[in-house]
């Protein structure tokens, strides 16, 4: 009986000391910025690429003297690519780590999970690459540094009709993914308005491995191309299985395809000649972009993708807004973020509009030999 009591007491002391030690860590000479990202899970490259970009930005800010005379400390939490995990880690960032601003995420469904919490706690949040319009509609503390899906849908509708010269298109939508259903809805609307025709619509759930049933159904409607607004993990499998049922039409999609894992393995041949829209092209000769690529390569020994650029811009914009506000109070940072005009980012000039979105052009890339080749830029 006595030993049991001892164990209980020891455990509670341990637990309390852990709780207090983490509370006491808050130092006065740093500004804490939180980040939630999918560093593991099926969309891991989204998180890793943008995390690398954000870290690069923090390093630069700190080496040039920091913000308001203080260094920036980045607190990163992995949400494993799950919306419910996101809510847990964002709560932790705000309540335990006491961050004053939050950056995240690439995937819209996870940003949508985090935004209400940031809004409630009056912590400004910048999403680097969530394109679903509903993300920033959640509240006036939620911003983004990328374009939104109605625009991306217009870009791909124009591209399909004018450059790919296809009129009969089938849709394959990830029904469990807010990004995918949102982009598909917008595409359906604009593509039909511009004179195209949707001959078939099929759905899948992210994480599915078998797409042959849906693809076979699409095959017998004879589309000239298939629009797949999904994430790279599923798109690779879809392309492989599409070729396996003997179909050779091109696939095209949105920025969810952007990952060096997209063309891994058999998907390299299956995706040859397919297109997707995204935020920037690394082939762009613009010195800002090439300079960033060089810095990124030197530090990480790998190639950046669009999310590295956007992560960098999101962090830079956050630091800039804190500087302009001259304060770490959420309310003041929010007001400054909303006033952002012609902020010089590596992904182009960022002006935040009334809906707290950035207005930017999009690029279309073509997959050739497993590499992403620049095809065209479409301005808003």
């Amino acid at each position: 009986m006595k030993s049991k009591a001892t164990v209980v007491i020891t455990l509670s002391v341990l637990l309390l000391s852990v709780m207090f030690s983490s509370c006491n860590k808050s130092q006065d000479n740093v500004i804490k910025i939180g980040q939630f990202a999918s560093l593991t899970g099926s969309e891991a490259t989204f998180g890793i690429s943008s995390d690398n970009g954000i870290k690069l930005a923090v390093e630069e800010i700190n080496s040039s003297g920091g913000v308001l005379g203080k260094q920036i400390q980045l607190v990163t939490e992995d949400n494993q690519g799950k919306p419910n995990e996101t809510q847990t880690v964002v709560q932790k960032l705000i309540n335990r780590d006491k961050v004053i601003g939050i950056i995240g995420e690439v995937a819209s469904s996870r940003s949508k999970a985090a935004a209400p919490i940031c809004q409630q706690n009056k912590i400004p949040m910048i999403s680097q690459a969530s394109t679903n319009p509903e993300v920033t509609a959640i509240g006036d503390y939620v911003f983004r540094v990328c374009f939104i899906d109605p625009f991306q849908a217009t870009v791909m509708s124009k591209f399909a009709l004018n450059s790919m010269k296809v009129k009969k298109v089938a849709l394959l939508i990830d029904q469990r993914n807010a990004y995918s259903t949102g982009l598909a809805d917008n595409f359906r609307k604009t593509f039909v308005e511009m004179g195209g025709e949707i001959v078939e619509e099929q759905k899948y759930s992210s994480g599915d491995k078998d797409f042959k049933a849906q693809l076979t159904a699409i095959k017998y409607k004879n589309p000239e191309a298939i629009f797949v607004p999904g994430y790279y993990t599923d798109v690779g499998l879809i392309a492989i299985q599409l070729r396996e049922i003997g179909m050779s039409v091109p696939l095209f999609g949105g920025d969810g395809w952007e990952s060096d894992k997209l063309t891994e393995g058999k998907a390299k041949d299956a995706l040859e000649g397919c297109f997707f829209s995204t935020h920037i092209s690394t082939e762009d000769p613009n010195p800002l972009i090439q300079n960033f690529i060089k810095k990124y390569r030197d530090k990480y020994k790998i190639e950046p993708d669009a999310y590295s650029f956007l992560g960098y811009d999101a962090m830079m914009l956050m630091a800039d807004a804190i500087k302009r506000a001259g304060s770490t109070e959420g309310d003041k940072i929010r007001i400054e973020l909303a006033k952002t005009k012609d902020f010089k980012g590596v992904t182009g000039n960022i002006t935040i509009n009334d809906q707290r979105n950035a207005i930017k052009p999009a690029v279309v890339l073509e997959i050739k030999g497993g590499k992403f080749k620049y095809k065209e830029t479409i301005a808003p």
Binding site: Q202, T216, L237, E244, G265, K268
Partner: protein
């Protein structure tokens, strides 16, 4: 009609994978009267063994170098790996609990399952891996647009061969006779001089190697593997085993094929939104009319 044929082939190859996993569930249930919830994760380990074995055998490129002999070696190698895994799991996790209440061993199985899933994430990494091309996927024939590719046929044939082998082992060998005897009654079987521990170990080895084969066939057809694929495929295979009548080997095979076909037809002709709802709805209806599953026999509980 051609679309129907193509969907039928899609369904058969998906169903074959369910069936192979379901066989492991049903055999272990038949012998020990418990659901080995870790079985789906043994399937996952099978797929990953194939992935790493392929690299071990200098399969450095993802394409090219594919040969039938190599594929068979990798298939057998991963079956061996999972046999050892199944054997060890039974010895370490389940054997010490053999005389405990059924619930204890069931919870242990869930624990083992979680251990394999999250241990797998730690060891293999959580991001999906591209499964190497073990066999070149050639178009076998094309009738009016219904293309039949070699991989779907390989899946169906390999599953069929393994199931026939299993049938022979269970029906025509001494060990198989012992397995059937143990499934009737542990005590009486052991009184007849059957070494129960050996039979149970053998059952785990057999079931786990079939799961490994399913893992390789899965990688062949859907070349993306991650440490959590065992969850959903294990669940579906469990449903297939119950559908066919758990404890019945032929039933598990039949249940797997039915589930694969139903899922494919629902996705292809209706909408994949209702795929799982309809597949599980059918399970409920069948269990309402035949509570022991399609081929299950009624058991009288002796008190």
């Amino acid at each position: 009609m051609i679309e129907f044929i193509q969907q039928f082939i899609n369904g058969l190859s998906l169903g074959s994978i369910y069936a192979l996993i379901a066989l492991g569930y049903t055999m272990i249930y038949g012998i020990l009267r418990f659901i080995n919830f870790a079985h789906g994760d043994v399937f996952m380990i099978g797929a990953f063994s194939g992935y790493y074995l392929a690299f071990l055998f200098s399969f450095s490129t993802f394409t090219g170098g594919a040969s039938v002999a190599m594929a068979i070696v990798i298939l057998l190698g991963s079956m061996v790996v999972c046999s050892i895994l199944g054997f060890t799991l039974e010895k370490l996790a389940y054997k010490p609990l053999r005389n405990s209440p059924k619930l204890t061993i069931l919870i242990t199985a869930i624990g083992v399952s979680l251990f394999l899933e999250y241990g797998g994430q730690l060891v293999f990494g959580a991001d999906p891996k591209s499964f190497p091309t073990l066999l070149e996927n050639k178009e076998l024939f094309n009738v009016g647009g219904a293309a039949v590719f070699s991989n779907s046929v390989v899946v169906i044939i390999v599953s069929l061969v393994l199931m026939i082998l299993l049938r022979i082992i269970v029906m025509n060998t001494k060990m198989g006779t012992a397995m059937r005897a143990v499934s009737f009654n542990h005590n009486v079987a052991s009184l007849m001089g059957i070494n129960i521990n050996r039979v149970i170990s053998f059952t785990f080895i057999l079931g786990s190697s079939l799961a490994a084969a399913a893992g390789i066939l899965f990688g062949l057809n859907y070349p993306k593997v991650d440490p959590l694929i065992g969850i959903i495929y294990g669940l579906k295979a469990f449903v297939a085993a119950v559908l066919g009548g758990i404890g019945n080997i032929l039933g598990a095979a039949l249940g797997g094929l039915i589930l694969g076909l139903v899922e494919t037809f629902v996705s292809g002709y209706l909408s994949s939104t209702y795929r799982d709802a309809i597949a599980f709805g059918i399970l409920i209806i069948i269990l309402l009319f035949r509570p022991t599953g399609l081929l299950g026999k009624k058991e009288i509980e002796k008190v």
